[in-house]
């Protein structure tokens, strides 16, 4: 059974430490992150998701981000990140590329 976690709407640099702490608290369990409400995502918060995905990969647990808001997708695109970097699926990435 996956733990659910809803991303805040505004993920600027100041939000990164709290996001990291929240996700650390979920470590050891599969996590499904809901990014559908995100309206702004900055580099440091996206980096937390990248680090979380890597951590969960090392721990052998599932980590996914779905759904992803347009703003979240656009933030990744602007920064040259793939959605798979932050835990999105390849399908999400393909969809975004198609609509770009």
């Amino acid at each position: 059974m996956s733990e659910g976690y809803n991303l805040q709407t505004h993920l600027d640099s100041a939000a990164a430490p709290a996001l990291a702490a929240d996700l650390k608290a979920l470590r050891g369990r599969p996590v499904r992150v809901d990014g559908g409400a995100v309206r702004f995502a900055g580099t440091l918060s996206l980096q937390v998701l990248i680090a979380a995905r890597r951590q969960w990969l090392e721990d052998g647990r599932d980590f996914s981000v779905h759904p992803l808001s347009d703003a979240l997708g656009a933030a990744c695109s602007d920064l040259g990140l793939s959605l798979t970097d932050i835990g999105g699926s390849q399908d999400d990435q393909n969809d975004m590329e198609r609509t770009a």
């Binding site: 600027d12 640099s13 100041a14 990164a16 430490p17 996001l19 990291a20 996700l23 650390k24 470590r27 900055g42 580099t43 440091l44 980096q47 937390v48 990248i50 680090a51 979380a52 890597r54 951590q55 090392e58 656009a74 933030a75 990744c76 695109s77 602007d78 920064l79 040259g80 990140l81 793939s82 798979t84 970097d85 990435q93 975004m96 590329e97 770009a100």
Partner: protein, 735 residues
């Protein structure tokens, strides 16, 4: 849109904009005067481009769009594709003005009328020539960054790349970007910088995520990402670097020509299969195989990027100069104010110490007295030095008037040129800010009322183009600003007739030229028969003089019929200190600004008339003026019956109110440090501020205008005796 939490950086951007706009207006002025050359156009282009780059980083889309449209035409001019016709230069001036408006609006987070942008945009489009569409360029600039599709196969095999791809032609830049923690703590976001970069040409952004540790090891305030960006096109490297100008101290940027780049970072060195992620989409770069040993890489930052880039070579001279240690620093104005207050306290403490030492009756040559003199001198120098920090050149204010003149000239259908002299003279920042309105009015006045129309000028043998000269100079510890025109001068006969018609002066009143000129400052006076749309009648020179006086300044006029008029404004260099007369009133110590005092008199030698219960007037030089007791005005006491032991201060305010104030004694004339009452307490009628004296007591600084306004005027039915009751020898002090 703002990045949020980056007020300091944003403020820094707008301060930078001020300098860039100044450089732009300087350049435009040179071109207008026919003194510009290719370098001038380049400087203007750079200024506009830098504004655009910074605006892009802060998401100021309207500013980005218009700046881009303007720079497109400037680039056409720079490359010799269009000519600098007078119409084009006029258009550039108008565009420069509108760009200033956009910056001002963006700074205030205010909306700006988009109308001029559309109209100016169409004219820019027309001016750019048939083979260039600036609106198309604008839409490209305004669009959010949309990465192109990335072809991974082509990335692996450069030979397969499309020959038509700009990358294949080898034109462009390869940029490596890494961010320090300060970049994020100051509210910046790399994505916004990359978007700004995308306004220069097609970009591909790739993030290297290989250094991002697992969550348990992550410091969420540190960035472990780095980026490699490929920018197509022939944009100069320094322009590209401008995009990163505002993060130069908290990021590392390296830039190299695209054709000199070896293979992009080897994905095999990245731990995870997707650890270097290309931008969504984008055609692959097709880097040339191998690289010349002298490949040029420029940039700045704290550490070299770890991407497989060539070794940095020597940066071009202009870049070296740009990144050299800055000659100036930016300091929060509040910090300067705090320092000035502290220096004020130091001066007060020094005065207190002097007073205390004075009570010791030490012998001359005593070591304490000598050291105290040294301390006084040091305190004075520190005060002078700190005051100089607040001083700013008057040039930006004068430049602002250039726009006022252009607009006024257009409205009155006159040809006018602005001449600036002594614009490097420095004035206190607060004084400068409060000079904007009065100077604007006077400049409009000079164009509207001072200069004749073209036909009249030509008939008089003058050049068709009139000139308005703004000059500034330091004289006797004050700054003197002159607004002069080469117009028709003051028609004194007409002024006198108008004043008589309006009942401002008695018919046949004996007036010399300067008296007639002074009529222009009377409330409600207008020398124009009709209300002008430009200068209007609501705000006259009386209001201008009132504002100047409120700054501790004085105004005067010199005019010669047919030759022109000069308005002179003399201002204190600072509002932090004031030259005042320290007086005693009912046991209180007060300060009266020396600028308001005309003279001081002994009542014993002055003729005081009692014209009713408690109402006294002073007869002086064939005029009567009301007499008011300063102590009674503030409620310290009842007005004294006998004035023999008192002193009269004859004061004149900016609104020509004159009265004689009764005080008990004069102490001294000295400079006092102004302490705002409004900041620390509240506004008090008749009091402008306070100061702290050498004995530690607080002395209120009298507002002459406020006090005189509360004094009943002399009834018009009273006439002064013909014989003057005051002879020159009776004056104790003449201010």
């Amino acid at each position: 849109m703002t990045t949020g939490g980056s007020d300091d950086f944003r403020a820094s951007f707008f301060e930078e904009c001020d300098e860039l706009l100044e450089a732009m207006h300087d350049g435009l002025g040179l071109m207008q005067d026919g003194a510009g050359d290719g370098e001038t156009v380049h400087v203007i282009f750079r200024a506009v481009h830098s504004i655009k780059g910074g605006a892009g980083a802060f998401g100021l889309d309207a500013l980005v769009s218009f700046a881009h449209q303007l720079e497109t035409v400037l680039e056409r001019l720079r490359s010799g594709k269009i000519e600098a016709t007078p119409d084009l230069l006029t258009l550039f001036q108008q565009c420069g003005d509108y760009l200033s408006d956009l910056v001002t609006a963006a700074r205030a987070d205010a909306a700006v009328d988009p109308g001029p942008a559309d109209a100016l945009g169409r004219r820019l489009d027309a001016a750019s020539g048939p083979d260039c569409d600036t609106s198309e360029a604008v839409s490209q600039a305004a669009d959010d960054f949309v990465p192109l599709a990335l072809d991974l196969d082509a990335l692996e095999d450069p030979q397969e790349s499309d020959a038509d791809d700009p990358m294949s032609s080898g034109i462009g830049h390869h940029i490596t970007f890494t961010a320090e923690p300060e970049l994020f703590s100051s509210g910046n976001e790399p994505a916004l910088l990359f978007r700004a970069l995308a306004t220069l040409g097609p970009t591909r952004v790739g993030a290297d995520v290989s250094d991002v540790p697992p969550l348990s090891l992550l410091d969420p305030t540190m960035s472990h990402l780095s980026w490699e960006i490929e920018l197509d096109g022939d944009c100069p490297a320094d322009i590209v670097l401008d995009v990163f100008d505002f993060v130069s101290d908290c990021a590392s940027v390296e830039i190299a020509p695209l054709e000199h780049i070896a293979a992009p970072p080897d994905r095999s060195t990245v731990p995870a299969s997707d650890d270097i992620a290309p931008a969504a989409g984008a055609d692959a770069a097709a880097p040339a195989e191998g690289q010349p040993p002298n490949s040029e890489t420029v940039g700045w930052g704290h550490e070299p990027a770890r991407a497989a880039l060539p070794e940095p070579a020597v940066a071009p001279p202009q870049l070296s100069a740009r990144i050299a240690a800055p000659q100036t620093i930016r300091v929060d104005f509040e910090r300067v104010d705090k320092l000035i207050n502290l220096v004020g306290e130091l001066v007060i403490k020094e005065a207190m110490l002097s007073q205390a030492v004075g009570k010791l009756t030490l012998n001359t040559g005593n070591e304490v007295l000598q050291e105290l003199d040294g301390l006084k001198q040091l305190a004075g120098e520190i005060q002078e030095g700190v005051m100089a920090i607040r001083a700013q050149p008057i040039k930006p204010l004068f430049q602002r008037m250039g726009r006022t003149i252009r607009e006024a000239a257009a409205m009155t259908n006159k040809r006018v040129r602005l001449v600036m002299k002594g614009e490097a003279a420095e004035v206190d920042k607060t004084v400068l800010e409060r000079l904007v309105d009065p100077l604007t009015h006077m400049v409009r006045n000079a164009v509207d009322h001072g200069l004749e129309d073209t036909e009249t000028r030509m008939a008089a043998g003058k050049p068709a183009e009139g000139s308005v000269t703004l000059s500034a100079a330091h004289r006797s510890g004050r700054v003197v600003i002159e607004i002069s025109d080469d117009g028709g001068g003051i028609n004194r006969d007409k002024v006198r007739q108008l004043a008589e018609k309006k009942g401002l002066i008695a018919p046949d009143a004996p007036l010399i030229s300067s008296d007639i000129d002074a009529l222009l400052f009377m409330p409600g006076f207008s020398s124009k028969d009709e209300v002008s749309e430009l200068s209007g009648r609501g705000v006259g020179l009386d209001v201008v003089r009132s504002e100047i006086t409120a700054l501790g300044g004085r105004m005067s006029i010199q005019s010669e019929l047919g030759v022109g008029t000069v308005f002179s404004i003399s201002l204190p260099l600072t509002l932090a200190v004031l030259e005042g007369m320290v007086v005693n009133v009912a046991g209180q110590t007060m300060v009266v600004p020396i600028t308001a005092i005309q003279e001081t008199l002994q009542p014993a030698s002055a003729r005081i008339h009692t014209i009713g219960p408690g109402t006294k007037v002073l007869s002086i030089r064939e005029t009567l003026m009301p007499v008011a007791d300063l102590g009674a005005h503030f409620g310290f006491r009842e007005p004294p019956e006998e004035l023999d032991d008192h002193v009269l201060l004859v004061i004149e305010t900016d609104t020509d109110r004159r009265c004689a104030l009764i005080v008990d004694a004069l102490q001294d004339q000295r400079q006092v440090v102004i302490k705002s009452l409004e900041t620390n307490y509240s506004q008090i009628d008749g009091i402008s501020a306070a100061t702290i004296l050498g004995d530690g007591r607080i002395a209120l600084i009298v507002d002459p205008e406020g006090v005189a306004g509360g004094v009943s005027p002399v009834p018009a039915t009273l006439v002064a005796p013909a014989n003057p009751d005051i002879v020159e020898g009776d004056s104790l002090v003449t201010a």
